[in-house]
């Protein structure tokens, strides 16, 4: 029941455009992340702009949203904790679609104690509306384009 609800929610969220996924992305291949400063940001081909440690608005917001909604479990700067995996490692193999799927639907680990749960964020506007930003931030961290800590903002 719960997972059905979540899936419906995911569909709603996706339709609302909170996390837009172009049709060609559905294959689930890991796209390159070229950090092309001249191209538009989009979560699949160019999820962030980082220039000399400075980041675009979305990536900056992703940093903030991550540290507000995710870091209590996933640790500071995406480095992981004893509770949940390091997303800077996860995103080496998870693409945007797979990432969004986990965030929307959640997941329940069966580890040693079966006691860690990735919650569903389908009903949390503080995450759903900024899915792209959170992904962009974590992807920049994963690619080694961005160091730990609070990034500087690029001038607009």
């Amino acid at each position: 029941m719960r997972s059905l609800l979540c899936r419906i929610a995911a569909a709603i969220a996706l339709v609302n455009g909170a996390a837009m996924i172009p049709a060609e992305a559905q294959e689930g291949t890991v796209p390159p992340a070229p950090n092309d400063l001249t191209a538009e940001i989009d979560p699949l081909d160019n999820p962030y702009h980082v220039d000399d440690g400075k980041v675009d608005r979305g990536t900056y917001n992703g940093y903030r949203r991550y540290h507000s909604s995710c870091h209590v479990c996933h640790g500071p700067d995406g480095l992981g904790s004893s509770f949940a995996p390091a997303l800077v490692e996860s995103l080496k193999s998870l693409d945007y679609v797979a990432f969004a799927e986990v965030v929307v639907n959640g997941r329940q680990a069966q580890g040693a104690t079966g006691n860690s749960v990735m919650p569903s964020f389908a009903f949390d506007p503080n995450v759903m509306e900024y899915m792209n930003d959170i992904y962009g931030y974590l992807k920049a961290r994963t690619d080694g384009a961005l160091d730990r800590g609070r990034p500087q903002r690029l001038p607009k």
């Binding site: 719960r2 940093y63 903030r64 949203r65 991550y66 540290h67 507000s68 909604s69 209590v72 479990c73 640790g75 500071p76 700067d77 480095l79 992981g80 904790s81 004893s82 509770f83 959640g106 329940q108 040693a112 104690t113 079966g114 006691n115 860690s116 749960v117 990735m118 919650p119 964020f121 009903f123 949390d124 506007p125 503080n126 730990r148 800590g149 609070r150």
Partner: protein
């Protein structure tokens, strides 16, 4: 149970004399120093033991006597309870309770493991901790993560009654240890990061029926306040319904003020004491009224209440309009100390905000408010006439504003001290306090409320206090009459374990790397250090069995400290000194709940 009955006869007379009967069973159990009958040692929260076999001369010889794995990996807060021949320990989710036989090296007499919906886990903001059980009248009281309060038969572990105190779908959970006074058991609530409206509830210990509930926000009728009687700074509050009028619109309904700390009780004055937590969200701009600061009452307050009716006798708000998550739930230790040549009945509180408060516990009058960590900078001082902190604009995340990163605020959100309870020694008259030495940058931003989802609205980064010893913690001795640090012992990591003092002149605490440390209470000189299997965020307790004194502690790193520090903190490495080189806690210890019991060689 033999020993316990003997001791009971000896102490009954003194314990009950003069006071209103508190709970005879609890009073009797805690008056016998061979027991460790309550999480905080006694009603007053002293965490002091009259046992003196282990002393400054022989503590160096302590050795491990027996150990017990709880089988659970998450953060283990709270500590072992000992009554007679039985030790009761508890675990984080799944909240197992074990009764262990002290006559048989901890053979399991019974264990209780509730079935809980796993969707509770993600609404526990900072690990799935639990701070322990209460034992009274032949029952063991447990507050489960899923909001079930259960009374177990202390002999068999069979549930006698259970009741629901909240709903995790709204972000409500239970982590705090219950306390029993007379025929009532007090239950707080957690979920300050989920827009929960805090409350304290009294249930009848016989059948679990609800007697009263006092909310931390909202109208006086629900906060159980009488504005003409309930005192604030020594005078009646005067104005009605401040729990509504000091909020922006309906924000009080999701206003926090949770009650997940420790509760204390004065049997003579017949008052219970507890603190309320931070207002939600962490973005102060959303809690302001017409763009101005407003108190957000009664978040961040100390309450003194009548245990039978819940009516507030007095209240004191430590951090009106919080801007830093200085969650005001820390324990209120009740002690009689000399101030200005007079013996005073005081309440001492080491708040997250870095101020050590000494109040008259009968009237709530503020006597002393001084910084117990010299790096505290968000306020210059507390105005003793109004009781309000004088906040510096430079560190005000409200003045600096939304979407602005306010830098270098000390202490960090986890406070100069978190939930780890301090100890009071009647021998020295001093308080022994496990503290954090961490500062932060804090950037608030707009968030939306959605039931059962995190309601935070700030991002912060933490770093060891700059220009200091480079470590992230200190264990200090504090003079609550003067408001002064007597001595301070630096530690590489935050000291996140409950302290213990003893008549043997030794104070004990645990460290996040997993060390049990024994120090001389006079000067803080280290006398003993032993590394247990995992980091310690639990409390160190002591008891006597068959004439031998033992020290018991639950290891099992986790909690906010364990999660936040696992990867290490960032920050300017200059000025951190040698200790600052120790970065990641993960280099020192891993998860694992283990009880370790120490004693002297035979």
């Amino acid at each position: 149970m033999q020993l316990y009955r003997l001791a009971l006869v000896a102490v009954t007379a003194t314990a009950i004399a003069g006071g209103v009967a508190a709970n005879e069973d609890v009073i009797n159990m805690q008056s016998d120093p061979s027991n460790w009958a309550m999480q905080l040692g006694n009603y007053q929260g002293h965490r002091y033991s009259q046992l003196d076999q282990i002393d400054t001369g022989n503590v160096g010889d302590l050795q491990v006597k027996w150990t017990f794995s709880t089988g659970v990996l998450r953060g283990h807060e709270g500590g072992p309870i000992v009554v007679g021949d039985t030790m009761y320990i508890h675990t984080p989710v799944p909240n197992i309770v074990y009764a262990l036989d002290l006559n048989d090296n901890g053979r399991i007499i019974w264990s209780y493991e509730p079935r809980q919906d796993p969707s509770v886990i993600p609404v526990m903001c900072c690990d799935t901790v639990n701070r322990g059980v209460a034992v009274a009248d032949g029952k063991v009281f447990l507050a489960q993560a899923d909001n079930t309060v259960v009374a177990l038969d202390a002999k068999t572990g069979e549930p006698i009654w259970s009741v629901k105190n909240g709903d995790h779908a709204r972000g409500e959970t239970l982590t705090a240890a219950p306390v029993v006074v007379r025929d009532k058991v007090f239950i707080g609530i957690s979920g300050g990061e989920f827009g929960v409206r805090g409350s304290l509830t009294a249930y009848n210990t016989n059948d679990g029926s609800r007697v009263w509930r006092a909310y931390s926000t909202g109208p006086d009728s629900e906060a159980l306040i009488d504005p003409n009687k309930t005192m604030m700074m020594g005078k009646p509050i005067g104005e009605a319904d401040l729990g509504v009028s000091t909020w922006n619109g309906d924000e009080w309904k999701i206003g926090g003020g949770t009650t997940w700390g420790w509760y204390t009780y004065d049997p003579d004055l017949d008052l219970i004491y507890y603190g309320t937590g931070n207002p939600g969200t962490w973005n102060p701009a959303q809690r302001a009224l017409n763009g101005e600061r407003v108190d957000n009452k009664w978040s961040m307050s100390i309450f003194a209440r009548d245990p039978d009716t819940g009516l507030a006798k007095w209240v004191y708000q430590k951090t009106p309009f919080d801007e830093w998550d200085y969650d005001g739930i820390n324990e209120n230790i009740l002690a009689d100390i000399e101030i200005g040549g007079q013996m005073r009945k005081v309440l001492v509180n080491f708040d997250r905000n870095g101020f050590g408060y000494t109040l008259d516990r009968e009237t709530g009058e503020l006597l002393v408010a001084e910084k117990f960590d010299p790096t505290v900078n968000w306020a210059s001082h507390v105005d003793m006439a109004t009781g309000r902190p004088v906040v510096l604009d430079q560190y005000s995340t409200f003045v600096q504003g939304e979407d602005v990163n306010t830098e270098g605020v000390c202490p960090a959100a986890l406070g100069s001290k978190d939930q780890q309870p301090a100890s009071f020694s009647p021998d020295t008259g001093l308080f022994y306090v496990p503290t954090n030495h961490i500062c932060m940058d804090y950037e608030p931003f707009a968030v939306s409320y959605s039931s059962g989802q995190p309601y935070i609205g700030a991002t912060l980064s933490m770093f060891p206090a700059p220009n200091s010893h480079g470590g992230m913690g200190n264990f200090i001795a504090w003079d609550a009459a003067k408001g002064e640090i007597v001595w301070s012992k630096p530690e590489p990591f935050a000291v996140w374990s409950g302290a213990l003092t003893t008549a043997g002149g030794v104070a004990f605490y645990g460290t996040l790397e997993g060390y049990v440390v024994g120090v001389d209470m006079e000067d803080g000189e280290e006398l003993y250090r032993f590394k247990t299997p995992s980091g310690i965020i639990g409390n160190i307790n002591t008891y006597e069995h068959n004439g031998q004194q033992y020290i018991g502690v639950l290891s099992g790193v986790g909690g906010w400290a364990g999660i936040g520090l696992a990867a290490g903190l960032t920050g300017d490495s200059e000025g951190l000194g040698a200790v600052g080189a120790h970065k990641a806690l993960g280099d020192y210890t891993r998860l694992g709940g283990v009880l370790t019991v120490f004693g002297l060689p035979n």
